[in-house]
């Protein structure tokens, strides 16, 4: 059992005891390591100023192969156990700027400079990905997509887009050549195979290599918080609304990284990130993949887990309505063994789920909709990208025949209209009986109780819910 978290920082082996492991990476870099290039602005993963690159080589899955941008302000040092990190401070090579840095200088991509390190790292992450795919050029869509998680208040982004487009990929070498040696690979493999318990009087972080150990720990310490990617939990910590004192990390359990299709059923393990999920969905459920494009930022998608987005049970989470509409099933392990919960029975009340004490989610699975299915996901927010929804809606319909006048099967689910992600069983039943949109809209509205808050008024939520619902039928019924 290790008593320290182990990772590589700019190519150097680094160990962290409880005092360091309990800090957010950005804070650790800035206050304990003097690496102040990484900035903290929002401390909630919404601005990207703290972006660093992370390689997690021993996680089974495609994303383990590259240095990926992540938000260091909402990532605990403990979570980086087994990772290799590169920060902006180390990016230039013997006084020579990295190509992304050169591009930002030459294209006037920085003004005040506070967001700049984050932009440089996000761009470098894009370069790493493109090098791994042997791409030759950067297009404007890719440039914008890779920078969706970075806010700049000075430039209006135009010079930064110019910079991204001016990057000459032939002048870039993968960071692995500089920051990831064979010796490091071997050392991290060893780290990945060994459980860790990093603790002192005020902080405890346990990272077992098996589910059994994890369950035993949960049983022993009921106050344990499960640390998925921490994208929610870290924010609560940073805003000083809670203290993270006892955490269970599942990152060393290989089986939780599985994502696969099995006779029409997609299985997504608890450690699968949104980035990887999206990659998988592109071929299996492309509609869902494009929905994930306007969901979160690349940095969040690279850390955040699919199961985490369900487990946190936010009524405005973006994936729960999609999973509700797909009739997903949640796989749970607990003291009494395994069980499966249909997602429509999972969300009980505001932020309250059907998980019993001592239980944890190990996977979510769902059937791939049959070919003739009309499947659409909608998200409505004040700002199109990286904004929390006012309302989101998922609709899945199969018709009795080509005429599209009678519905054989339907699922409708929405977020932002009730205390929980909501499945419209009554509306669905009505539509199965008779395809009458006007009657269905009335039923739809009678099922929900949206609230007014800082994002949207109740009335607005109702109007968009109805509009998006109508839009679905307008789009699929010619």
């Amino acid at each position: 059992m290790r008593d320290r978290v182990v990772f590589y920082l700019n190519g150097v082996r680094t160990e962290a005891g409880p005092e360091d492991a309990s800090l957010m990476l950005a804070e650790y870099l800035r206050t304990r390591r003097g690496l102040t290039g990484t900035k903290i602005v929002c401390a909630e993963g919404d601005c990207g100023a703290c972006t660093v690159l992370r390689l997690f080589p021993h996680a089974p899955g495609t994303d383990g192969q590259n240095f990926l941008p992540v938000n260091s302000c909402i990532t605990l040092v403990a979570q980086l156990d087994g990772s290799s990190l590169v920060t902006v401070d180390a990016l230039q090579d013997k006084g020579q700027l990295h190509e992304t840095q050169r591009a930002m200088v030459d294209c006037h991509g920085s003004q005040c400079g506070f967001c700049t390190p984050g932009f440089v790292m996000a761009l470098t992450g894009m370069v790493e990905e493109k090098l791994s795919r042997s791409d030759a050029t950067v297009d404007i869509k890719e440039a914008k997509n890779c920078l969706t998680g970075n806010l700049c208040r000075c430039t209006g982004y135009l010079p930064i887009i110019d910079a991204a487009l001016s990057i000459d990929l032939s002048k870039c070498r993968p960071l692995k050549e500089r920051f990831y040696s064979n010796a490091q690979e071997t050392a991290l493999a060893e780290v990945f195979g060994q459980s860790a318990l990093v603790e002192d009087k005020t902080f405890s972080f346990f990272a077992p290599t098996t589910l059994e150990e994890a369950l035993a720990y949960l049983a022993r310490y009921p106050d344990t918080r499960i640390l998925g990617s921490g994208t929610d939990l870290s924010v609560v910590h940073n805003k000083r609304k809670a203290t993270l004192s006892r955490l269970l990390g599942l990152h060393l359990i290989p089986s939780l990284y599985q994502i696969r299709e099995d006779s029409g059923l997609v299985h997504v393990g608890a450690r699968v990130t949104h980035a990887e999920f999206r990659h998988f969905l592109k071929t299996h459920v492309p509609e869902f993949a494009s929905y994930l494009d306007v969901f979160a930022s690349p940095q969040i998608k690279n850390m955040g887990t699919v199961v985490g987005n369900i487990a946190t049970a936010s009524p405005i989470g973006d994936t729960p309505p999609a999973f509700l509409a797909l009739d997903a099933i949640i796989g749970v392990r607990g003291p009494t063994g395994e069980r499966e919960i249909p997602i429509s029975k999972f969300f009980l009340a505001y932020r309250k789920t059907a998980l019993a004490p001592g239980e944890l989610i190990t996977y979510v699975k769902f059937p791939i909709p049959e070919k003739a299915t009309d499947l659409r996901f909608y998200k409505s927010s004040n700002r199109k990208d990286l904004d929390i929804s006012a309302v989101n809606l998922a609709v899945r319909v199969t018709w009795k025949n080509e005429a599209r006048l009678e519905i054989r099967d339907i699922a409708v689910a929405a977020g932002g209209v009730a205390p929980v992600p909501y499945r419209f069983f009554r509306t669905e039943e009505l539509l199965r009986q008779r395809y009458d949109i006007e009657a269905a809209v009335k039923e739809l509205q009678s099922e929900v109780t949206p609230i007014s808050d800082l994002r949207a008024s109740a009335g607005y939520r109702r109007v968009i819910l109805e509009n998006l619902f109508r839009k679905f039928f307008r789009e699929v019924v010619p």
Binding site: Q101, C112, G156, Y157, L158, K239, D385, A390
Partner: protein, 804 residues
């Protein structure tokens, strides 16, 4: 090709140092501010017992600990920390100082406070009812508005509502104070106004100005939010440092910064306009009401600029603007890029749009008809200043043609008559922005230039660098005067012990004031070097001081005229001529020479060394004041500005009929910036300001609770534009104009004016909406910001009624 920002390399490598990047000193402490959650209340009970018991907490300070607790940029009416009564939610009450930031932040939650709530005024309406105003209403008037209105063939009355706008500088308010010997304080602050910060710190702590130095290396964005507001936080850090004799750092979290600090003032304006069937405005009667928040701050000056910009680009023969600044119990609002300008301009642009809608005309034609023009004396503003160097007509014509405005307008109309899921709108608006502080005494700057004996320079001015590139521009101005590359000079951190009595870096004036002063300073040295160079031509090099100085065998070179005559045209009166020449000496390519002896060139390095060895001063200081500013605040008449920066933008938007979401399809901008010192830096100001203005007009929504406590206090809820919100097509061009004789090197200020161009996005949204059948007889009343919800309400008002 333009040189990059002078800190670009440090920015991309992360080496550029901001306040919180400064190494933590031994014994340094961290402070955090406990603030009110009530709008207006008496503090009944305040208890720090649990806070002080927390391990690691060193001290708690309140307003009573200051020698003078009141500060204010114009009126000293604002407590640094509220004592008996709070006047807005987010108002600081106590400073908690601890061994770590986290300890201070967590301890803050243990403060016990009880309030006796008092009646709060949380809106402009409520302030009007309670007659709660900062100062009596002010008026700027020309002609006879009543008569002209009555005589106008057509009349409209309307209103416009404009919400606040958070600066969202990435670096929140930050300062660190170091106690020095003999009761002195050195404070490093993220401040646009080091002089005021110095003065506020000294006054608050009962020190004298000589005891306090304020240093500003750079800011992670300012935008006006650190013009006045940096000072009280610096004073808090300095108080703790002085009392505890330890360095104290106070860097706000983004959440606390947004909750505590003031924003762009909300405005609610009313107007009556008289016009004819061609769309010509005969008379405009406008009443501007702003929400100052709890304290005066800069709100009266902001109102003044709003009043001076309610004409924007239009000649309005009979015009009256009344401005009333309301005192409420919201956070104390402050400067924000554009100051009052955007609120005045948005108002008159709405007037134009409404007239065009009423007459069923293209708003562009109405704009044209009313544009300031030389002919017919239509170039005098309502405050009596002549609009000189007027390029508005050219800007509009050239932009209209280059962006294909007319054709795209008919395409938009065709699109909207189809059955698409979006409706589109297009709008082209001009801007004429007055450059100068409207308060005369602020239009002064000073600079200090040092040349070292290796031929490199250090420049110090009162300008502060917040990303806008003022330092790069100043360095380029100064080095080009000496024929040197920019990298031979470094602009040093702004310090009040080098440049005192400076004005804030604000009002777009940073380069105008400080660049001019720096140029004057270097010209003083240049004159001496020129005379020396001339004399050296006649002295054989082996007799130069560098070969003989130690021996004293050769006579020293004496200058006959070492001082620059203030009336010398080369001193700066003739800015546009570019560089000044003295004694016929040219400075080019790192060398000095006289054209009559082109072979006898002296490298700049040897020249300055010779100067040193001949005891000729290589440093100088200069002072610059903007000439010809005579605006009388009492009468509201006079030359308020040295010149105008002008531009125009055309924006096309698509609104989602189902959700109200807005997408900017295309933006074209054309600006007249005279002859830029550094074109790339200017273009960066334009794109940045436009997108910031776009946020103000669309997604940036400040939502408060019943007590005026800000709920959208982080980027998760307060949505500034993201890279995906930039226009799909975004063209920015500069109009060629070599005729701005008023300003240093023929440049024009750029910082604020392009923000106002984003008003075209808001008018484009309204343009899209007015195509809807229910706006046939009325004009949409979408406030600023036009959020998705506001837009959907305007698209389908009846749908909302059924639920509300």
């Amino acid at each position: 090709m333009s040189l990059p920002h002078d800190s670009a390399r440090g920015h991309v490598t992360g080496e550029s140092e901001f306040i919180d990047d400064r190494p933590v000193m031994r014994h340094e402490l961290f402070a955090d501010v406990f603030y009110s959650t009530r709008a207006h209340a008496r503090i009944k009970h305040l208890d720090f017992e649990e806070v002080l018991k927390t391990p690691g907490v060193i001290a708690v300070f309140t307003g009573h600990d200051f020698s003078h607790n009141l500060w204010g940029a114009i009126f000293k009416d604002q407590p640094i920390l509220a004592t008996d009564e709070v006047n807005h939610a987010g108002e600081g009450i106590a400073l908690i100082v601890a061994e770590s930031r986290e300890i201070a932040q967590r301890a803050k939650r243990k403060v016990v406070i009880e309030y006796t709530d008092l009646e709060g005024i949380l809106s402009i309406d409520a302030a009007k009812r309670a007659k709660s105003f900062i100062i009596p209403a002010r008026k700027i008037e020309r002609g006879n508005v009543e008569t002209a209105l009555a005589a106008s063939p057509l009349r409209l009355n309307s209103t416009i509502k404009i919400q606040g706008h958070d600066h969202f500088y990435l670096e929140s308010q930050a300062s660190v104070a170091y106690p020095l010997e003999d009761g002195q304080i050195e404070v490093h602050s993220s401040s646009q106004h080091p002089t005021e910060t110095q003065h506020v710190v000294a006054h608050a702590l009962g020190l004298q100005d000589k005891d306090v130095v304020c240093i500003v290396k750079r800011m992670g964005g300012g935008f006006g939010g650190k013009e006045s507001q940096a000072a009280p936080f610096a004073a808090m850090a300095a108080l703790a440092a002085l009392k505890l004799r330890r360095p104290v750092r106070l860097c706000l979290t983004k959440d606390d910064d947004m909750i505590m600090t003031g924003k762009r003032n909300p405005f609610e304006n009313e107007y009556a306009v008289g016009f004819d069937s061609d769309g010509r405005i005969h008379a405009l009667d406008v009443r501007l009401f702003s929400d100052a928040g709890a304290y005066a701050d800069l709100s009266t000056s902001i109102m003044e600029r709003a009043m001076l910009h309610t004409d924007n680009a239009y000649f309005i023969p009979h015009m009256r603007v009344v401005g009333q600044v309301c005192r409420t119990h919201n956070h104390s609002h402050t400067a924000f890029r554009g100051f009052g300008g955007p609120k005045g301009v948005a108002t008159v642009e709405k007037v134009i749009e409404e007239i065009a809608h009423f007459l069923n005309k293209d708003p562009m034609d109405v704009r044209r008809l009313n544009l300031y023009a030389e002919e017919g004396g239509k170039d005098i503003t309502h405050y009596g200043q002549k609009v000189e160097n007027n390029t508005l007509g050219r800007l509009l014509s050239e932009l209209e043609a280059s962006c294909n405005y007319r054709q795209r307008r008919s395409e938009v109309q065709a699109w909207n008559s189809g059955n698409e899921s979006t409706i589109r709108g297009i709008s082209l608006t001009p801007v004429k922005f007055g450059i100068s502080f409207t308060t005369r005494f602020l239009n002064q700057g000073n600079a200090f230039v040092i040349i070292h004996t290796d031929g490199t320079l250090q420049i110090s001015t009162g300008a502060t660098e917040m990303g806008q590139g003022v330092n790069a521009r100043i360095a380029e101005l100064v080095t080009s005067e000496l024929g040197l590359p920019r990298q031979t000079a470094r602009v040093m951190p702004t310090r009040t012990d080098k440049n005192a009595n400076t004005s804030p870096t604000a009002a777009s004036s940073g380069t105008d004031l400080n660049g001019a002063a720096a140029l004057l300073a270097v010209r003083k040295i240049k004159k001496r070097l020129s005379e020396l160079a001339l004399k050296l031509i006649d002295i054989p090099p082996e007799k130069w001081a560098s070969k003989t100085a130690g021996l004293g065998s050769e006579p020293e070179v004496d200058l006959e005229d070492p001082y620059l005559n203030e009336n010398d045209p080369n001193a700066g009166a003739d800015w546009v001529s570019g560089t000044a020449t003295y004694f016929g000496i040219c400075f080019e390519g790192g060398e000095a020479f006289h054209p009559s002896h082109p072979k006898k060139r002296i490298t700049f390095g040897s020249l300055v060394l010779e100067a040193y060895l001949n005891r000729i001063s290589l440093s100088d200081y200069a002072f610059y004041k903007i000439p010809g500013i005579e605006f009388n605040k009492l009468t509201g008449q006079g030359n308020a500005f040295l010149y105008f920066t002008q531009g125009a933008a055309c924006t096309e938007v698509a609104l989602d009929r189902d959700t109200g979401e807005v997408k900017v399809l295309r933006t074209d901008i054309l600006m007249d910036l005279g002859r830029p010192v550094n074109e790339a830096l200017d273009l960066g100001q334009i794109s940045g300001a436009y997108i910031q203005g776009l946020g103000w007009c669309t997604t940036e929504n400040l939502v408060y609770d019943q007590q005026g406590l800000l709920l959208t206090h982080a980027p998760s809820t307060y949505k500034i534009p993201n890279i995906q919100d930039t226009p799909r097509t975004f063209n920015i061009n500069l109009l060629k104009n070599d005729e701005n004789y008023a300003n240093v090197r023929g440049t024009k200020a750029v910082g604020e004016p392009p923000l106002l161009l984003a008003v075209s996005a808001w008018t484009a949204i309204n343009d899209a909406l007015r195509h809807l059948p229910h706006y046939r007889k009325s004009y949409p009343m979408v406030r600023i910001p036009a959020t998705a919800e506001n837009i959907l309400r305007a698209i389908a008002p009846q749908r909302f009624e059924s639920w509300e």
